[in-house]
């Protein structure tokens, strides 16, 4: 746990953890509202967004990428809603049409354009590059945390992800009551004058912000897995929303840390030379946590269903 750990593992673990938490927080409400797959749809359409942003600006700078991805996410949500209403198509199918078509467009644009100079390809979009977000300047180990020169060379993804996670946590705290009310009893929330549709849209936009910020650092697999697995596992552990949200944050952190460590060091312990994909392993660990919760979670059954049913 010396300088090498700080240089090569600390920042990826921190970024992965922040990304996981940023996605798990809105995921709690998406799960309860049966909109879990919105996260799936958003993380697919991020790809065409960044490709278009790259084609327009010619760079892979962070801001145009984030704007492009955000715009694509918003476009997807609008298109899904439009197709659902105009064509009277069930939401799942409308979602399936929109995100696959946009993703296909993104892949095609990417293949057609010259992106050999820059690090932009489909696999990167899916799997992220968590392993490369290292902090080389931290040559003095833990002492580097107090060294302003070293701190200035932190990977830029870390402060960005921290800001996004803090923003989403703040939004969750500020809008806690309206979110809770409109999620559990939409009719009542409407009756006491809450803008229910605006809250729903705000939640989807927050999810999009989380997806876009996290996607840049960790790829879409983690985004989808963290939207769903930690909140779903937490849902099986408790009946209290507050406890569920805290638990989901805990599960997300556990998945990120354990997943990264298993991916980075697990193969070495087993005697292999190469690490495996951290993003994939984090998603796998979150799935194992969900699996355990499905088997032994104290509140895994539906209310009113007998244990043997």
């Amino acid at each position: 746990m010396g300088a090498e750990f700080v240089q090569f593992s600390l920042t990826p673990i921190l970024i992965g953890t922040l990304a996981a938490i940023a996605c798990a927080l809105p995921g709690n409400f998406l799960i309860l509202r049966r909109q879990a797959l919105i996260g799936d749809a958003i993380s697919h359409v991020v790809l065409p967004g960044i490709v278009v942003a790259f084609l327009l600006t010619g760079t892979v700078a962070a801001l145009p990428m984030l704007l492009g991805a955000g715009a694509a996410a918003l476009l997807a949500v609008v298109l899904i809603e439009a197709i659902r209403r105009v064509g009277r198509i069930e939401p799942g199918a409308a979602m399936g049409v929109v995100f696959t078509a946009l993703f296909a467009g993104g892949v095609l644009l990417l293949e057609q354009s010259d992106t050999s100079r820059v690090h932009l390809d489909v696999e990167h979009a899916l799997m992220g590059n968590l392993e490369t977000l290292i902090w080389l300047r931290a040559g003095e180990g833990w002492a580097s945390l107090a060294d302003p020169v070293a701190l200035a060379h932190l990977p830029p993804e870390l402060p960005r992800m921290a800001v996004a996670a803090a923003l989403i946590a703040a939004l969750t705290v500020i809008f806690w009551r309206p979110l809770k009310l409109s999620t559990f009893d939409e009719g009542f929330a409407r009756a006491i004058g809450l803008p229910v549709s605006a809250i729903g849209l705000g939640l989807v936009i927050t999810a999009a912000v989380a997806a876009v910020a996290a996607f840049d650092a960790v790829g879409s697999i983690i985004v989808i897995a963290m939207f769903i697995c930690p909140p779903a596992a937490a849902r099986l552990m408790t009946n209290s929303l507050a406890r569920q949200v805290w638990l989901s944050v805990g599960f997300a952190t556990l998945s990120a840390v354990l997943g990264y460590v298993l991916a980075g060091y697990g193969p070495l312990w087993l005697g292999y030379a190469n690490a495996v994909s951290a993003a994939g392993m984090i998603a796998t660990v979150s799935g194992v946590i969900l699996g355990v919760a499905c088997l032994i979670g104290p509140h895994r059954r539906r209310v009113g269903v007998a244990a043997g049913a």
């Binding site: 799942g92 993703f103 057609q112 030379a273 190469n274 495996v276 994939g280 799935g287 895994r300």
Partner: protein, 403 residues
């Protein structure tokens, strides 16, 4: 362009022709299998099934290599992908049944976790000596490059088999899709039919892995079915229309992809399907956007026409420019706004029908008839001629109207 035409007419070489025919058969199978999935409102389950194939592909490769094989046999990889797709499907059903999580959460969890596991296996394979040129990444987005004759035959044969099974099972599957309760009551095992439907979806996914890739195969299952739904309300027609749309997208897509560089097959096929969908969304009769706009405009015109004629009967001036334009166009008023003979006659009829409705409401207690009064439905459509004659008798002789 010439290359594209050649490919379209199966003149671009033996392999390209095989791929195009295979893609068309796959598209047909996906369109028909997807129709039942869509009617059963479970379109996105296929997304979980598709992503769940990845660890199977990886494991199959590792097993084949460790048994001393070459590891790239398509049949072996597809068998592995089918097994893990089945595991994913079973998990979705189990989570939705045994826990209180809803099906969409189960779908999302299974697809992300299986995909993550698959990615881990892919990185393991990349570190194997034999795995560097495995090309398993092609299964993500599909590829026709280096496709062998036997691969194309697997795709074509599998697609044909799926279509045959759907033909045999179309009646029970339709029944279960529309009314599971009734289907169960007449003795159909709905669970088994659902299982058959999912098995077909799984078969399409596995067959399509090589050509379209696991991320986009779900599009080929969903989009043709949704598109066909715009054109007809009859389930058999939706089924075969979806099949034809899928086949067209597969065929044209494969031809386009064969004729130009940097055109990956999967995305092209999906984009053509999406183009057909957009076209249908706009132009389909009754359910399309244009049809809806036209219907709305026709309705507006009828309301304006009636308001204008009512104003004529009361000799009131008309100011609304839209009303004036519609009345002028139909020759009901002259350019200076004075009613023509035809206009006066129509106005008189509307005034008379209004009086008839008044009588009808006095005579009839049956609101299901008088309730159909909306000012636009002609009274002749609601009441029989002898009833209208009866109203007229109560109305008394005709009176001249103003104007």
């Amino acid at each position: 362009m010439a290359g594209f035409l050649d490919a379209l007419l199966l003149q671009a070489g033996y392999n390209a022709a095989l791929v195009a025919i295979g893609a068309a058969l796959l598209g047909f199978a996906a369109g028909t299998a997807g129709t039942f999935l869509f009617l059963r409102k479970r379109a996105l389950v296929s997304d979980a099934v598709a992503h769940a194939t990845l660890p199977g592909v990886g494991l199959a490769f590792i097993v084949m290599v460790s048994l001393g094989g070459e590891g790239r046999s398509l049949a072996g990889l597809l068998l592995g992908s089918a097994l893990s797709a089945f595991a994913g499907l079973w998990l979705v059903e189990w989570i939705a049944r045994a826990t209180r999580l809803s099906e969409d959460a189960a779908i999302g969890a299974v697809l992300s976790v299986f995909f993550g596991l698959g990615v881990v296996l892919l990185t393991v394979i990349q570190s194997l000596d034999r795995g560097r040129q495995a090309g398993l990444e092609d299964f993500l987005l599909g590829s026709t490059a280096g496709m062998l004759l036997q691969d194309a035959l697997i795709i074509a044969g599998g697609g044909a088999a799926v279509v045959a099974v759907i033909w045999a099972l179309r009646r029970p599957m339709t029944l279960v899709a529309f009314d599971p309760g009734y289907a169960a009551a007449i003795g159909i095992d709905t669970r088994r039919v659902d299982l058959a439907m999912m098995a077909l979806v799984m078969a399409v996914t596995v067959i399509g892995l090589k050509l379209v890739g696991l991320i986009l195969i779900v599009a080929l299952l969903i989009i043709p079915a949704v598109t066909a739904r715009f054109w007809t309300d009859r389930v058999e027609r939706v089924l075969w229309t979806a099949g034809l749309l899928g086949a067209a997208a597969g065929y044209v897509g494969a031809a386009l992809s064969a004729s130009a560089p940097d055109m990956p097959t999967g995305p092209i096929i999906v984009l053509i399907a999406a183009g057909l969908f957009a076209l249908s969304l706009l132009c389909a009769p009754r359910r399309g956007v244009l049809a809806a706009i036209l219907a709305r405009r026709r309705f507006q015109a009828r309301v304006h026409r009636r308001q204008g004629l009512l104003a004529l009967t009361r000799a009131e001036p008309i100011h609304d420019p839209v009303t004036l334009r519609i009345l002028r166009r139909e020759g009901l008023i002259r350019a200076d706004g004075v009613a023509t003979d035809k206009g006066r006659a129509q106005a008189a009829k509307i005034a008379r029908d209004e009086r008839r409705w008044d009588i009808a409401r006095e005579v009839h207690q049956d609101t299901s008839l008088t309730g159909r009064y909306d000012g636009l439905t002609p009274i002749e459509e609601v009441f029989a001629p002898d009833e209208i004659a009866d109203f007229d008798a109560r109305l008394g002789p005709p009176q001249p109207v103003g104007g």
